[in-house]
Symmetry: C2
Subunit: 320 residues, 2 copies
């Protein structure tokens, strides 16, 4: 929740002169999204989101993300669509940052996801995977198994500050996952960060997906494993197998998955838990004094990892 | 910039059941305002602000603030107006906090105020002072001269962490102001926190005032002194006498001020600088590790205080 870059009236006016959106009626920083600065922009034409990309987003990836949103929207996946200016470009500079205006999506993200939300999510994820099949651009997942050790190593010496013995446990897990990480699973475009605050609902109906700035090319089942972790644990830390079952069932009604994908789920779920654990651990140990954003608790994902280490197979996720 | 209290879908639905605003289309936390949690609420009826009052606001003061906004709006001062529910009440509970829905104001706050903004502000401040003349409720200014020592004393021992010698300098200033603080000046309803982010403009036209949660009963000229500090210093720390002159001139065209008020301005400006210096110093020394909100630099107001200590009279503010 942050506005990292303040923009002046003059900068906004100059930026908007490239569009036909009418007079600016309101511009409010949004306290959601930890990576970029987002403003809710209201003009005579309606509501829009103005996003300024901050340093954690690689500028070289922006054409991929913007093209992806346009591709998905054209395929019927409701997501923000970048607006093109009079010069045809969607991406330009604002206050020294790359910036775009995207369409505004109605809906609320579920603060306490229920099984009905998980079912909607499963189906929407599968539709997104199918919609991405003919998206021709690719982007490697630099936060998959090959990317974890470079995050772990600078943290290893201080991981005990978070929990005694954490470094050894993570080193062992990393070794296991590096040795056994599944390959050859059906792959394509994945969202890779589909937490509840990136999924909008109106009532019980899913109305859109946002925040494609971790999207990449990887195994579809890994995207499901990320959602299992993000949607199916309760605040009391218990795993809600009902939520997992309805999510996976709804997914496979739209895109049936193979036996190999099903068998790989526990390991993919461990990997997904480790991925978020490591980036949170890194942020926890390295967040600057007085930072805008409160770092997220890495141990939440340690407990999720422990759960998946102990399951005996994919049946633990509620499937036959 | 913060969302301190997250609300669940169920809580919002139950809350909104008291109003006739139609279906919720969107609810986004706003990254502005450091005291309370604000959501931009979009329903079938339009845009509204949902405010949850956090601990720094005294619940006993809320009826004053809400009645004040209604009074000012009825007098033609554009400001947020609390909505009343079917039960007639504007104030109710949400997620364990007192909460209201207020009307949405169009406009942007000026990130870099120009003299034209300062002129608009001066006139609007005077109109607000006049509009408050027949507001019958009162609220003492607990952040005026009598309230400063209780903030200073717990900070005195650590003020040197911010700047060497600061504690002694503040103690001396506090003694001067306690001895010489002007009394008997024309008084009434003041805003007491009219920083640029609380004043909205569309183009060059001032369209509204927000955030009345420091409003109280005190000298009108003290409100002006707060605005001198908040609007008339440049990012390079210089005092922009043009901005001060147009602000004060525009003010006195609407509400002429007395010689006593004019003569008191330098001391009131010192007091206003000390007030913000002290609360910022307190927050600087006491903000919790990993807090949501980055504390503001107390030394900005130390430099403003030094400026006002050195002026020879109100002519320093550009008036004849």
């Amino acid at each position: 929740m942050a506005v990292y870059t303040e923009v002046t009236d003059e900068q906004v006016d100059a930026f908007l002169a490239q569009y036909d959106l009418g007079a600016v009626l309101s511009l409010k920083g949004i306290a959601e999204g930890v990576e970029n600065t987002n403003y809710l922009l209201v003009t005579a034409q309606g509501q829009f989101i103005l996003t300024l990309y901050e340093k954690r987003v690689d500028e070289g990836d922006l054409p991929f993300f913007l093209a992806l949103m346009e591709h998905l929207a054209a395929k019927g996946v409701t997501c923000p669509v970048p607006l093109h200016g009079r010069d045809g470009r969607a991406l330009r500079q604002l206050a020294g940052r790359p910036a775009v205006i995207v369409s505004f999506l109605e809906g609320l993200w579920p603060r306490r996801p229920q099984p009905r939300h998980c079912a909607e999510l499963g189906a929407a994820l599968a539709r997104m995977h199918l919609a991405g099949l003919d998206f021709t651009m690719t982007r490697p997942n630099n936060l998959s198994v090959g990317g974890w050790r470079p995050i772990f190593e600078p943290c290893a010496g201080r991981a005990h500050e978070v929990q005694e013995g954490l470094a050894d446990a993570l080193a062992a897990e990393l070794e296991t996952l590096e040795a056994d990480w599944p390959t050859g699973l059906p792959s394509g475009l994945i969202h890779a960060d589909l937490f509840p605050d990136n999924v909008f609902f109106t009532g019980d109906r899913l109305t859109g997906l946002i925040d494609f700035y971790f999207a990449c090319t990887d195994a579809f089942a890994y995207d499901l494993a990320i959602c299992l972790n993000a949607w199916c644990f309760e605040p009391d830390r218990s795993f809600n197998v009902t939520k997992a079952r309805v999510m996976l069932s709804a997914y496979r009604k739209v895109r049936p998955f193979s036996t190999a994908e099903l068998e790989a789920l526990p390991l993919l779920a461990r990997g997904s838990a480790l991925r978020f654990l490591l980036t949170r651990l890194y942020d926890w140990l390295n967040h600057p004094e007085g930072a805008f954003v409160k770092p997220k608790d890495p141990l939440e994902y340690w407990r999720k990892l422990r759960f998946h280490q102990q399951v005996s197979g994919p049946a633990a996720y509620g499937l036959d």
